[in-house]
Amino acid sequence: MIDLQGVVCCIGDQQFHFELQLPAGQCIAVMGASGTGKSTLLNLIAGFETIRDGKLILNGCNSTHLTPKQRPVTSLFQEHNLFSHLSVFDNVGLGLHPGLRLSQLQRVQVNEALAQVGLAGFGKRLPETLSGGERQRVALARSLVRRRPILLLDEPFNALDPARRQDMLKLMDQLRRSKGLTVMLVTHEPKDAVAIAQQIVFLHQRQIYLKGTVMEVLASQKAALLDYLAHPVIPNSHHTIV
């Protein structure tokens, strides 16, 4: 589980406050307008930003002062997930050993992970020969071999076309179920949340504004949320359609 207790963080002259408890094994969609702190929230959990005040507990272990490497977390960014001069196999292998000294068993693991994301046989290729979706799959394969229970995704599928995006979401969902992962997914697309998330965390003015199941949050009538969504996703029964 992910537990932020009164966490405060400063970036420049902006201050962020987070108070959030999330159960393990679920997919949580993080939504909110630009600049409200979605990426900051993920960066805090991954350890890329320092926590000024408060406590961060990941899977029962106080992680407030751990280095990114020590945390039970793995991240997937929108781009720059792969080293362009390393082969697909090596890029995945880096998740097992940072100096790429892999045992026979680990080599098998890499190939299995590639097969799980649908890229069996792609090991020798270079990232530049892959499509955007395939590159994200390689990064996902690396997240899998790292065997970290928490997976953080910062708008990872934004550059993909709708069909590829749907495929990736399905793959994500399937992997979450089979590996028991906790997934946090930053997205602007309510449809994504409906498709794979159990909960939504909605940020506004640099703090948590709403939290609840997907249906609860999307049906909420709070002004900030309605502003953000522009038009309601779930038709409200009180409104009569003329």
Binding site: E79, H80, F83, H85, G99
Partner: protein, 555 residues
């Protein structure tokens, strides 16, 4: 019937011409006029100079190729340039890495500032600083003697040449390497810290692949600068053991007036430098010389003790190599002779000349560079003639391989029969300095200019934004910083250049570097020190005023 036919032909020619002019974009645009003029200003002096020298060298020059002296000079040129380049790069990479890792150490911004100024410190002044620091009476020797050790004599010959070349080129290389390191995406650093990459892994997987593309052209540039360096080799080298092609050309022209030899030597130099530049430019990407805004990065390899100690030593070495000679100039220049020197009218006259030369040649350089880039933009983006576009920009860089002395001597001989060359000497200096600054201005301007063109060329065409208005509304606001930087850099370089003025300077026409050279030659050490300080002040002042004054508030 015939007249109808004529009209038919005439119409067709007219149509063809219209189609052609629309196709190559002549209609309504003066771009080609400016571009052709720029190209002419660049190429005509080179062709005239080389042609005149060839014309004047009567005998078949290739008989000289059997001369042992020439091959010794060629060998030494290669040797010193190779070692200088290697040393500069080997020091620059760890120093840049230390600067990238230690974002918060106290003197960082001062050191970086000095690194960018090292490019504009006049060669002669730097050499003077080297002598004050490393010479027989220098600070280091005095320290050694006071510690009861025998003095060292390493300054004259290869040792001094290498020291001076490292002083100039290490900061240049370090800045370019640092900039390249700063372009690494923040996500990459986050990934590295999540994967727990060690310092060695980071070098292998992140930094080296990033630097590789920039190292080849950087090597080419530094090698060419060392290969053609003149004032350093003339003052610290000399003698048959330590003479480069550039100095040999000067000696052939000034002392022996042996045109055959000069032509042969300059052709050899052209071949050598051309080869290096070609390899560097062909295999690498263009360098970014203009400083850019840096971004915050969170590297995971900041905390190891060994890394801290290593970085500390590297930064200490950088301070020793770059700051100490500058400090020596300032300390020695503030001696009791300052009022004698400053009262001297010759100093102010020479300073005035230097300023005039600097401003004129900087302005001309930037106009020429913009003219060439305009043509390049047209050829590349509108017509799709990529080869022609590259060739055009190449013509600007060729000068880097062409010895300025040969240019000067050739023009001197060509103009001698027409007019009084000594009366024109200042204009000739401006012309030669303009051409010498051109490769730098092109380096600085070409990437941002072309990127801007790629983004907005279609929009400009659809809005009918062209010519002066386009420059005023689009290019000036967006390219202000690189424009200011190239103006400042070329002005400072040209103010501090000894180069051609050494060839046809007369007592009536002198510049600050020449005055300083004369004072050094006549053993007026104190007066030379003050002159050096004034010259340093002029160059740095020009650079800072032009760069900060023109670049505006926003980058």
């Amino acid at each position: 019937m015939l007249s109808l036919y004529r009209i038919y032909i005439g119409n067709n020619i007219q149509k063809f011409w219209m189609a052609f002019s629309i196709r190559i974009g002549l209609a309504g645009h003066g771009w080609w006029l400016l571009s052709l003029a720029s190209l002419a200003v660049v190429l005509v002096p080179i062709i005239v100079a080389l042609g005149t020298l060839l014309w004047h060298s009567q005998t078949l020059m290739f008989r000289n190729l059997t001369d042992v002296y020439i091959w010794r000079v060629v060998w030494f040129s290669w040797l010193q340039a190779s070692i200088s380049t290697l040393l500069s790069l080997l020091l620059a990479i760890p120093i840049a890495r230390a600067l990238a890792r230690r974002q918060h150490f106290a003197g960082r911004s001062l050191l970086l500032r000095c690194f960018s100024l090292a490019l504009v410190v006049p060669t002669l002044v730097a050499v003077h600083g080297m002598i004050l620091l490393h010479g027989h009476q220098g600070w280091i020797n005095q320290l050694m003697i006071s510690l009861n050790s025998s003095g060292y004599h390493y300054l004259y010959g290869l040792g001094g040449i290498l020291l001076a070349h490292v002083f100039f080129n290490m900061p240049l290389a370090a800045r370019i390497v640092l900039q390249r390191l700063e372009t690494i995406a923040p996500e990459t650093w986050r990934l590295a810290s999540q994967l727990g990459l060690s310092s060695k892994d980071i070098w292998k997987h992140i930094e080296w692949p990033h630097l590789r593309t920039v190292l080849l052209p950087l090597t080419g540039l530094i090698f060419t600068l060392c290969f053609t360096s003149f004032a350093i080799v003339m003052t610290l080298g000399g003698g048959p053991q330590a003479t480069t092609l550039e100095v040999a050309i000067y000696q052939a022209l000034r002392f022996a007036f042996d045109l055959d030899q000069a032509v042969l030597l300059s052709l050899l130099q052209l071949v050598c430098c051309g080869l290096i530049l070609w390899v560097g430019l062909r295999l690498g990407r263009p360098l970014q010389l203009c400083p850019s805004t840096q971004q915050r990065c969170q590297r995971p390899d900041l905390h190891s003790v060994a890394g801290r100690i290593f970085d500390g030593w590297m930064l200490f070495l950088a301070v020793l190599l770059v700051l100490l000679p500058l400090l020596a100039i300032v300390v020695n220049g503030s001696n009791d002779y300052w009022h004698v020197v400053l009262d001297d009218k010759r100093l102010w006259y020479a300073a005035g000349n230097s300023l005039w030369i600097a401003l004129n040649s900087a302005l001309l350089t930037v106009i020429l560079a913009m003219g060439l880039l305009l043509a390049r933009r047209h050829l590349q983006l509108r017509l799709g003639w990529h080869r022609a576009a590259t060739a055009l920009e190449w013509s600007g860089s060729v000068i880097l391989a062409f010895p300025p002395l040969v240019l000067g001597a050739g023009l001197f001989l060509a103009l001698r029969s027409w007019t009084d060359v000594f009366a024109l000497s200042l204009y000739l200096v401006v012309l030669v300095n303009t051409l010498m600054g051109l490769p730098f201005a092109l380096h600085i301007l070409s990437a941002p200019y072309l990127q801007l063109a790629r983004q907005y060329d279609r929009l400009c065409s659809s809005l009918g934004l062209a010519g002066w208005h386009r420059f005023r509304l689009l290019e000036w606001p967006r390219l202000r910083h690189p424009l200011a930087f190239s103006l400042a850099l070329t002005a400072a370089m040209s103010a501090g250049d000894l180069g051609v003025i050494a060839l046809f300077g007369t007592p009536d026409v002198s510049t600050l570097p020449l005055l300083m050279y004369q004072r050094l030659g006549s053993y007026q050490g104190e007066a030379a020190s003050v002159t050096a300080l004034v010259l340093l002040g002029l160059c740095l002042g020009l650079f800072i005023v032009l760069e900060l004054g023109l670049r505006g508030k926003h980058d």
